[in-house]
Amino acid sequence: MVTVGLVTAALLLTACGNTGSNTGNEVLVSAASSLTEAFTEMEASFERANPEVDVVLNIAGSSALREQILAGAPADVFASANTSNMDLVDEAGDVEGEPKIFARNRLEIVVPLGNPGSVAELADFARDELLIGLCAESVPCGDYGRQILQNAGVIPAVDTEEPNVRALLTKIEAGEMDAGIVYETDVTSTDGGVGGVAIPDDDNVLADYPIAVLAEAPNADGAANFVAFVLSQEGRGILVDHGFVSP
């Protein structure tokens, strides 16, 4: 009995000690899925320049990140793949200062290697016999994908709505789907693991990526430094290397 009580007490104490844990030099960056590779490199470069700082990436769909932040998750920086998720966080009073656009991204048709469905244009998304994937409407890539199809006047025969862009990309890369719409940078990120089919400029959209320090950032200084680094010449260079367009 005493042991049980002691163990419980110990657990409770540990839990208390951990609440709001931030070692002072940790910067928690919540970044959109499509930023995975670019921000991993960003993290490495920033930590090389600031060895005392530990950047921790929290990668998910922008809308999932938005919900985490609105629910009070202790993040320092938010980098979204569209402005509407950032706006919702901003309107809730959770952003410090003004969000800044740090990158732009075009969208592209993605197909498995060898293009088994012979997908050549957006109109092919209406072919019922193909397995077509889009991102869920709630995440930016789903929103952009639907805008593009609407611009082209195509009603897609969708077979799955994936929760984030990387889940869709993975299924295309595995050859389980015939086509999807993802960011150009996602196609680049697979290093030739998938095929890309360009979307005509008239139909395509240019996604804006805003970044901001969060109002309740546990490490506000570290957050501001990281954002400044992303917006710097070096940060932009990293983004361009990964296929992003400079704003």
Partner: protein, 270 residues
């Protein structure tokens, strides 16, 4: 029933306070999240939310998939449990380990494994697709297979333990009286493990109903075709929190109703 002679004693002896406090803490682990859900429920919009297309479609897919997975688990899982309990063979512990593996494996891993095995480019999926044109992922069959993968272990282990606890002399007596092996199985063994079977079916069904990770990885997510209640909750959490809460509430009500209705068969308690 005879009068319980121990009850006056029991009433006198109070349970140790430490145990009661810890038990209450234990219960709060389950109750607090439910309170959170109830606190966020948009009660006035509830009728509208519960009859929306997203909710009705997800409910339909979930009912079909969870019952389908339970049926397949019963047809395949009972024989598997019987073999594990009654047949001695080398490597039985390995087989048993394989059967319970989905209980500890993250469902996402299970979904990815299913995709690599049964997907269009999968080990078995590719020849299957070439021979029959069948594509399992992104279809209701994918949802049923994913749910079966994660839920059938509950049936197998429950039925197997029922078989172990069964006094095999009854089966022996039936056989002595001239019943064939099949008749013994059908008329003696299965009825006698009835409570374990019922418990196994209830657990299997409940696990199938709540299945998320393997489903979204293997079967995808499309309203009306593969979007189950848990998937609809996940998507709605990011776009329409009211709908997400309404969907969660449905799951809680359905699951609690069935588990409470089956409580006699399940743990034989009041």
């Amino acid at each position: 029933m005879t009068k319980r002679t121990t009850s006056p004693d029991r009433r006198k002896r109070r349970p140790p306070i430490v145990l009661v406090v810890l038990a209450a803490l234990g219960l709060s682990v389950f109750v607090i999240p439910l309170l959170g859900l109830l606190a966020r429920t948009p009660w006035s919009d509830l009728p509208m939310l519960l009859t929306s297309n997203v909710v009705l479609d997800a409910l339909r897919v979930s009912v079909i998939a969870s019952l389908g997975a339970t049926a397949i688990s019963a047809i395949l899982g009972v024989p598997l449990a019987w073999v594990l309990a009654r047949v001695e063979f080398r490597g039985r512990s390995i087989v048993r380990g394989l059967v319970v593996l989905p209980l500890v494996l993250p469902p996402v891993v299970g979904g990815a494994a299913l995709l690599f095995a049964l997907g269009r480019r999968g080990l078995i999926g590719e020849p299957l697709n070439q021979a029959t044109g069948l594509v399992l992922p992104f279809s209701i069959w994918g949802v049923i297979i994913a749910a079966t993968f994660v839920a059938m272990p509950f049936l197998v282990i429950t039925v197997e333990s029922g078989l172990h606890n069964l006094d095999s002399r009854y089966e022996g007596a039936a056989a002595t009286l001239g019943a064939g092996r099949w008749t013994v199985l059908r008329r003696v063994t299965l009825p006698m493990i009835g409570p374990s079977l019922a418990a196994g079916l209830a657990l299997t069904w409940a696990r199938a109903l709540g299945e998320f990770g393997a489903t979204i990885t293997f079967a995808g997510n499309l309203q009306g075709r593969t979007q189950t209640l848990p998937l609809a909750v996940f998507v709605a959490l990011e776009s329409d929190r009211g709908a997400a809460v309404a969907l969660s509430l449905i799951m809680v009500v359905i699951s609690l109703t069935v588990l409470i209705a089956l409580r006699h068969r399940w743990w034989g308690a009041v």
